[in-house]
């Protein structure tokens, strides 16, 4: 497949996943649609073009690891996993229903493809550091990808992990920061400012690249450049929009965990053109 064809495919898959996620959250009456929509292009790029994984063997020892640290965006992860073939898409209809395996936050013991249980923030990066160390210790070739929110970086545990990743020279570790600039209650910079974020990661010994988190070609090029520098962990600051793809949700703090009404769902789906998959 040519790069251009690949980008077109990713775009079509992402649109389908956005639509499915919106419907799922509307039906469930629960979810975090804003952060889901900011992360979906990154997830789709990873699961459909970057990760060395086999959905039929989700526990294969040599698989690449992906850890969703912003566990409240489980809806985006579940939808992506289902479209990637980890479990039947019909399972998405059970999201947060009694006894569903699809809880509001991901459970590795119930959902194929989930590596660790997240939900409280600041947990993914330390676990990713451990997994990257395990690859190093066992001389295994697999890589560890971890997606954090940006507001989540206010948790101190991330910076403990950041120090250790560079100390251990884990160039098999790839952190993607979903820099949508919003957290639950307000803009990050008004709540507890993170900038200069790139400088912070560089100061902690990471090799940093910035990318538009909705540009598949840019994401693909960035992921293909890993490791950016031998012996340094990789940080990708992905500039995104919360609510991306639905005009009235984009950059709106209220859509952190608001559930679309029937009318809002219809308007959102109208904006996200139907695609055949």
């Amino acid at each position: 497949m040519s790069d251009r064809q690949n980008v077109e495919t990713l775009s079509r898959v992402a649109t389908a996943i956005r639509r499915r996620d919106l419907q799922m959250i509307h039906n469930a009456g629960l979810g975090h649609i804003g952060g889901d929509l900011s992360a979906i292009d990154i997830l789709v790029t990873l699961y459909f073009s970057v990760l060395r994984i086999d959905p039929r063997a989700p526990d294969a020892p040599e698989r690449d690891r992906f850890i969703l640290s912003k566990g409240h965006c489980a809806g985006a992860l579940y939808t992506t996993l289902a479209y990637a073939g980890f479990f039947p898409r019909e399972e998405l209809d059970t999201f947060v229903q009694p006894l569903s395996c699809l809880n509001g936050h991901p459970d590795r013991n119930k959902v194929p493809g989930v590596e660790t249980n997240t939900g409280p923030l600041g947990h993914g990066l330390p676990v990713a550091v451990g997994a990257a160390l395990a690859a190093r210790l066992t001389q295994a070739p697999w890589r560890v990808f971890v997606l954090t929110g940006d507001g989540e970086l206010q948790e101190g545990s991330n910076w403990e992990a950041a120090m250790s990743a560079s100390h251990f020279q884990l160039d098999n570790l790839i952190l993607i920061v979903d820099r949508n600039r919003l957290q639950q209650g307000d803009w990050t910079e008004r709540t507890m400012h993170l900038d200069p974020l790139t400088d912070k990661w560089r100061a902690f010994g990471w090799s940093v690249r910035e990318v538009n988190g909705h540009d598949y070609a840019g994401l693909l090029e960035t992921f293909s450049a890993v490791p950016f520098e031998p012996g340094k962990p990789n940080c990708i600051i992905a500039y995104t929009q919360k609510g991306r793809g639905v005009s009235f949700m984009q950059d709106q703090v209220t859509w952190h965990h608001r559930v679309p009404t029937t009318e809002e769902l219809a308007a959102a789906l109208e904006e996200l053109k139907e695609v055949a998959l």
């Binding site: 660790t116 249980n117 210790l137 120090m163 250790s164």
Partner: protein
């Protein structure tokens, strides 16, 4: 003269033996190489001793990640900091994720003595046994410590080992076989049961000897696994001996005594006494002085037993 042992030595010897046979065994520390007695381990297996610096939350998360990669991490730190600082990581990354990680809370209880309540770990049994999927083990002597470390390595899933630095005598013989969730009957008796764990098992045994001189036959159980609790042993103690005293180097809120009482009151109510730290921060004093201050010596257990039996009559 009874020989006394630091259980951390048995821990370290066993971990090195395991590491020699199984390349998946790794140790993770928070700068606590010396206090976890892992200096020799680090010399023999420099790549398998992961020191994350003074960062307990990261340490526990790293343990979960190492387990995800197929290794068997023993995550070691001073018990108060490992459990208190990283409790949410223990809950989410280890227990809820059901990660194959062995948490080793070193120098637990009031072993740090006059360093004070910041360094005491008298809440860890309560915190850890409240978390689903956790196995909580409090070994009493070096023989049991060595076996508990082996069993933990051979058991898939989260385990918390509470390992003291206070010198203790051997209370088990070489034939002893530790099993998770199984109380050890150290002495049989029909008049009452003393249930202890950790460094206070030897005190319970001494108390039983004092009681025997008064013609009282005390059963002594080493309840080294606090979760899952040996409910059958507790029920048998209640039915066959009629009263129970628990003894722990821990707050009386939520620890061994509470675990035993949960079974007793719901299945076979009998008079009980729960000996431990009575819900206060300890005053300044050495570890051994604090055990006397909080009335946790053999003589205190003996006195409590006489009072309890008197109350029964």
């Amino acid at each position: 003269m009874t020989l006394l042992y630091d259980c951390r030595d048995a821990f370290e010897d066993t971990l090195r033996e395991l590491a020699e046979r199984d390349s998946r065994i790794v140790a993770v520390v928070n700068d606590s190489v010396g206090s976890s007695k892992l200096t020799q381990f680090g010399e023999e297996y420099p790549n398998r001793l992961v020191n994350v610096g003074i960062a307990e939350q990261n340490m526990v998360g790293v343990g979960a990640g190492l387990a995800n990669g197929g290794l068997i991490p023993f995550v070691c730190g001073a018990a108060p900091f490992l459990t208190g600082r990283a409790l949410e990581q223990i809950k989410a990354d280890i227990a809820y994720s059901n990660a194959n990680v062995k948490l080793c809370g070193m120098s637990s209880g009031m072993a740090y003595g006059a360093l004070g309540p910041t360094h005491h770990s008298i809440e860890d049994m309560a915190w850890l046994r409240a978390i689903a999927n956790m196995t909580v083990i409090v070994p009493a002597d070096p023989i049991e410590t060595a076996q508990a470390v082996q069993v933990a390595a051979n058991t898939t899933g989260p385990v918390f080992l509470r390992i003291s630095r206070l010198p203790v005598p051997v209370v088990h013989d070489d034939a002893y076989r530790f099993a998770i969730g199984k109380a050890a009957l150290l002495r049989d008796g029909r008049d009452l049961t003393l249930i202890a764990n950790g460094v206070l098992v030897s005190q319970a045994l001494e108390a039983a000897a004092l009681l025997e001189a008064r013609g009282i036959q005390a059963r002594v159980l080493n309840m080294s696994t606090v979760r899952p609790l040996d409910r059958e042993a507790v029920q048998a103690a209640a039915m066959e001996t009629g009263s129970i005293i628990t003894v722990e180097e821990h707050t009386v809120y939520g620890g061994l005594g509470s675990a035993v009482a949960e079974v007793v009151v719901t299945t076979c109510p009998v008079p009980m006494r729960i000996l431990g730290v009575p819900g206060v921060f300890a005053p300044t004093g050495s570890a051994s002085w604090l055990l006397q201050y909080f009335q946790l010596t053999a003589q205190d257990i003996y006195t409590a037993a006489l009072e309890l039996l008197g109350a029964k009559v």
